[in-house]
Amino acid sequence: MIEVKGLTKYYGQLAAIEDVSFFVDKGEVLGFLGPNAAGKTTTMRILTGFSPPSRGTAVVAGYDIKSDPIEVKRRVGYLPESVPLYGEMVVSKFLRYVAEVKGVGRGRRMAEVGRVMERCGLLEVSRRVCRNLSKGYRQRVGLAQALIGDPPVLILDEPTVGLDPRQIIEIRQVIKELGQDHTVLLSTHILPEVTMVCERVLIINRGRIVAQDTMANLARGTARTLEEVFIAAVAQDAAEDEGAAPVAAAAGGGSL
């Protein structure tokens, strides 16, 4: 469903991501992990067509992001990291606007907006102005906006940041349900979240993919937790960069 081939993005001289390649199957939930500034958001922004890659390309839902960006955007629901919203707009009006832009027919628009509002628990704030929403509700509006038109691919950039524990559980539940019939690429810092929601993980560090494997393999192998795997992968990457392989071995690195 998502096929990334050698994506590279430079900001001036700095390579935000370098030669990133991976694959997400239809109906799979892929956890996209990495420390801050590892290139998660950059990769997601390229996949959603917000910024173009310097090199490489990706095929999302059967369309190339470079040659068919509009077709890709029709099939992708995107929740940006900072959840930008039009502050002065009422929630239901905002979602209706998104539905119109996404090409949901006039007759189905109301029903579609109702559906996503119910799914994301927004019915009680549907008449409120986005500016006055709490962080948790903003996050939900962002998610609702991504779900409109029922796109087959969902790209969610840190969907549970800033939520209270109860909201986190709710959102995770929603994502889990969505994972049954959608392809989801989910970035996060919160490792237990990945354990709960994702079938496969991808660890990126300083712009390069340092590890990827299924959660099942991970559980079956050593008794290592995801934390240990994450720290080992990141440490190994740093060590390789300095040409000090023994350090990586000492840190317990290796394939996932």
Partner: protein
């Protein structure tokens, strides 16, 4: 086209869900209303006693009152226009909604036309205010149809052309104040350059000592340059047109002006694809 309409509706609605729409239309209504009252009173005094104001008879209503008033309205719209256009793209960039906008299945031209249409919507609202004055006038006076139609068309075209400049400036910055100031500044520069050009001598500035062919060449380029500067101010083409005297070049000026800046806006938005 349907997508442009969606963008336009959202943009236009946001003028009136924030104070900016009311402020702009309110200020426009107040100033144009005062100006209209003042020029109407003046015309009334003149028509009672033309001789006192150096007129031989009661002056032409359209020429003395209506056309100057409409030209004034156009200038006024251009004056407060930066307030309408500065937010169009700069605000999206500033609050991060650009990310939302550019990841929706919208083409760049749909975004640009949608935004431009929304700004033109504000223009129509302001012209509706002018129309109220004109309706009151036509109740009392038999107004010449051509003056009315072309006068309003002039105000519209002049402002619409200018709004395209504002849209372009808004697309190059993420700060609304910068966008507004720059738009206003550019308009003022165009205006001043035009009056400066009026003082340029008509004669060829090349010295006699230069060879004749070269002199003629310089003179030719100078003439084009002078003519160009002279025609630059956005209200230059409005004065005659507001009287109902329509020249194709005046219409062409406004259409090309708008097309040029819409094109630049398109390029500016597209530049994200090759800039880091």
């Amino acid at each position: 086209m349907r997508n442009s309409w969606a963008v336009c509706k959202r943009e236009f609605a946001s003028y009136f869900t924030t104070p900016i729409g009311y402020v702009v239309v309110g200020i426009f209504a107040a100033i144009s209303g005062l100006a209209f009252s003042a020029s109407f009173l003046f015309y009334a005094k003149v028509s009672v006693n033309p001789a006192m104001y150096a007129y031989s008879s009661v002056p032409d209503f359209e020429e003395t009152l209506l056309s100057p008033f409409l030209t004034f309205c156009g200038t006024l719209i251009v004056f407060i226009g930066p307030l309408v256009t500065m937010r169009l793209l700069a605000e999206e960039r500033n609050r991060g909604t650009m990310e939302l906008l550019l990841t929706q299945p919208l083409r760049d031209r749909e975004i640009i036309f949608g935004k431009y249409l929304a700004a033109l919507g504000m223009l129509v609202v302001m012209m509706a205010v002018v129309a109220v004055h004109l309706l009151i006038v036509s109740w009392y006076v038999q107004v010449e149809g051509a003056v009315l139609v072309f006068g309003l068309a002039t105000v519209f075209m002049m402002s619409a052309a200018f709004f395209s400049l504002g849209l372009f400036v808004s697309s190059v910055t993420s700060n609304q104040v910068t966008a507004g100031t720059l738009t206003f500044g550019l308009w003022f520069i165009l205006y001043i350059v035009g009056s400066f050009a009026e003082d340029l001598p008509e004669a060829n500035p090349a010295p006699e000592a230069w060879g004749e062919t070269f002199r003629n060449g310089v003179g030719f380029v100078y003439d084009i340059f002078r003519g160009f500067l002279h025609q630059l101010p956005i209200d230059f083409h409005a004065k005659e047109m507001a009287k109902g005297i329509v020249q194709p070049e005046d219409i062409a000026y406004y259409v090309l002006f708008a097309a040029f800046f819409l094109f630049l806006t398109f390029r500016s938005l597209e530049s994200r694809k090759w800039r880091a």
